[in-house]
């Protein structure tokens, strides 16, 4: 309580008269409370509670002049288009009548749901996800410590046999599409990933697939 008990003797009949003269030691706290609540409201309204969360993305540097594009093993390419459409194909891109005699690449349509691209990714990245599972189990049994676990996870993601994912977009894909795919890649522990440009042949195939006329002057990519 805000009042201070100055009465030392305790309540006897003799003292009662004296006490009646005393001023009340109780302070009116209403203005202070008003102020406190005013400030409280102000800070509640203006404060942003949590800091923004971010997704870290690393973009590849542009290739130097007359530098050959690197040959990518275990590649999977996603092609994002408008209306939340997403296509993929495995391995390298082959145009019709290519020098290697491989069948022409076909785009397969999928979607952003958990049964869509995540399934596609998980199926192809079993090697990495399984090894990470094993490491995590070892960690749970105290066979590995924290930093070794991290090191193992990073090295298995960089393994030559691990899946490499390329994300390509046409002019109609939205930013959300790209973030969704990158997020799925994080969920499925794909370590090697890059957002790159479409090659003209891919764009043409995509346009045909989405029911648009192919661009006439598109040329086939140079054979390596």
């Amino acid at each position: 309580m805000a009042d201070v008990n100055t009465d030392s003797g305790g309540g006897h009949g003799k003292h009662d008269k004296k006490r009646a003269k005393k001023m009340s030691t109780r302070i009116d706290m209403t203005p202070m409370v008003d102020l406190a609540f005013l400030l409280l409201t102000f800070f509640v309204m203006t404060s942003t509670f949590n800091k923004a969360k971010t997704l870290e993305m690393l973009y590849p540097a542009d290739p130097l002049e007359n530098q050959k594009p690197p040959k990518i093993k275990n590649a999977l390419t996603f092609i994002l288009s408008g209306d939340d459409k997403v296509f993929y194909y495995d391995g390298e891109f082959y145009v019709e009548g290519n020098a290697d005699g491989k069948p022409k690449t076909e785009l397969i349509e999928t979607n952003y749901s958990a049964t869509g691209i995540r399934d596609v990714l998980l199926k192809r990245n079993v090697l990495v996800t399984d090894s990470i599972e094993i490491f995590k189990k070892q960690y749970a049994n105290n066979e590995l410590n924290d930093s070794t676990l991290k090191k193992h996870v990073i090295s298995v993601k960089r393994n030559a046999k691990a899946l490499t994912v390329l994300v390509k977009t046409d002019d109609e894909a939205t930013y959300k599409n790209v973030i969704d795919v990158m997020d799925e890649l994080n969920i499925t522990s794909v370590g090697k990933k890059a957002v790159v440009d479409l090659i003209p042949a891919e764009l043409n195939l995509l346009r045909v697939k989405t029911g648009k006329a192919p661009i006439a002057e598109a040329v086939a990519p140079e054979t390596k």
Binding site: L39, M57, K176, I179, N186
Partner: protein, 212 residues
Amino acid sequence: MPRGTPSLDMTPMVDLAFLLVTFFMLTASVRVDEPVIVDTPSSTSEKLLPNNVTLITIDNNGNAFYTINDGDVRIQTLEEMGKNYKIEFTDKEKKEFAGMTSFGVPMNEMKRYLGLDDAGRKEYKSLGIPRDSVDNQLGGWIHAGYVKAQTKLRDEKNKAKELNRPFKQEEMRFAIKADGKAPYVAVKEIIEVFKKQDIYIFNMITNLEKGE
């Protein structure tokens, strides 16, 4: 029956109120008033946004807005940009600029924009910082801000070394806060601007999505 006093004991309430006031005062970081509303997509990433960032905001039409966290660096960046575009800024304008957050104004409009009051600025229709190849102002801002921030970081590092103090400041990072509906091409264009200055790592601001 004795009449109860109409005044009640407010002490616990006041205690609580002040506790909360103190808490909010200490944890608060003032909400930045952005010139555009941006609805960021969600991801499962839990990485926090670093403190020392250059932030590029991209609205759903693909317009770019720029800001840099550090107020001092922001003023130096404006001076540098003024030098490049032969515009002299007064001390008052610089002060205005330091207090401002994200902006999307071309250089020739900057003086007028800084002269506006808060309400006028809200009404001002920002169309983003130009970034075409003829007049790449966004690139200019990014470059000037980066150089100034690096200089400041180095100066502080040297100072700390002289005084034998530990130095604990983060390097400048680059964050992109884009609307989910923004065309990815716009984001790509801005990343190209960064790439020209050998910047390849970005923090994409997202909402936290509850994991399944």
